[in-house]
């Protein structure tokens, strides 16, 4: 497959799209892990949501 005289423009376009999409995926996964870790940390300190508690816990 020959990309002709403008191969650098074509390759740069595809590489840039791949890089930005990968960056989005990594950012979203990292954000998910960060929020999960913060939730666990807070819940470990004894703070839980009302819906996460048993009826006996809610005074």
């Amino acid at each position: 497959m020959s990309l002709g005289p403008y191969a650098s423009f074509i390759v740069t376009s595809y590489a840039l799209v791949a890089a930005v999409v990968l960056l989005l995926i990594v950012w979203i996964i990292a954000d998910y892990r960060r929020q999960q870790a913060r939730l666990k940390e807070i819940e470990a300190s004894g703070i839980t949501r009302r819906s996460g508690r048993s009826p006996a816990d809610i005074r």
Partner: protein, 267 residues
């Protein structure tokens, strides 16, 4: 009726999280497979008689350009959900979509420039289509800045919803700019009255890539919405934690008013 029931069911964030946990792996898998097929078809597509191999840029430029407008459309529906129906997940959906839409718009602008340099002889021209897409990109950035600037999430959501609906005026301007103003950008060749003017050898890879990128958006959007719901849970738990600390110190000092003001400050 069924749609209304489904939307009502999804108003419960816990139910929404359970649903995304079930469908996200499948969506991601189908997206990856379609992207692989689309990229393979794009690589195998013949050269255009005028553009040569640079026609391959179209297979990634057009889906990004289409999504840049589609995402704003999704955000506009979500804005109506915030302002009219007060759906609890509407502003979560809008806030989560903005950075993804900004990324697609950025890619549409840059890949368009990279196609324009060899074909038009310039990276940029202040013509109607290019300028209106640049304005769309700036609107995405403005919206993201607004969400960060206003601390109260419900006030930020309402302000962002108004801005989104005002900005939606730009979408038909982008779409019809090439028909209204006869400038450098070529007229529509895929979605147009009278059918596509593209040869099937180019149309199929383009359609597969457009579907793959649309599924990519849906996957990323659902995942980003999940993150936003978790972020709001963290925020409300942190406020509860601050209240608990403030009221426990209240027992020591005996000043309830003082503790309450502390807790508001900490939240």
């Amino acid at each position: 009726m069924k749609l209304t029931e489904t939307l009502t069911d999804l108003a419960n964030p816990t139910r929404f999280l359970a649903l995304t946990a079930r469908i996200l792996p499948w969506l991601a898998g189908v997206t990856a497979v379609l992207l692989a097929i689309g990229i393979y078809q794009s690589a195998m597509a013949p050269d255009d008689y005028q553009q040569g191999a640079t026609v391959k840029i179209m297979f990634i430029h057009v889906p990004n350009a289409w999504l840049s407008m589609f995402v704003w459309g999704v955000m506009s529906v979500a804005a109506l959900g915030t302002l009219v129906w007060r759906h609890p997940l509407a502003d979560v959906a809008a806030k989560a979509a903005a950075p993804i839409g900004a990324a697609f718009t950025f890619l549409a602008l840059v890949t368009g420039s990279l196609w324009g340099r060899p074909m038009w002889g310039t990276y940029w021209e202040w013509d109607a289509r290019l300028t209106s897409v640049l304005i769309l990109f700036l609107m995405y950035l403005g919206l993201m800045a607004l969400w960060r600037a206003v601390e109260d999430p419900s006030r930020a959501a309402r302000a962002a919803a108004v801005l989104t609906l005002v900005g939606a005026i730009n979408i038909p301007i982008i779409k019809f700019s090439v028909d209204w103003w006869n400038t450098l950008h070529q007229p529509a060749s895929v979605l147009r009255m009278g059918g596509s003017t593209l040869d099937k050898a180019f149309l199929w890879p383009l359609l597969v890539m457009a579907i793959a990128f649309s599924l990519l958006f849906i996957t990323l959007h659902l995942a980003a919405m999940r993150n936003e719901i978790l972020r709001r849970r963290v925020r409300s738990l942190q406020m509860m934690q601050a209240n608990r600390i403030a009221f426990s110190s209240d027992v020591g000092t005996g000043s309830r008013e003082e503790s309450a003001s502390k807790s508001i400050g900490a939240a």
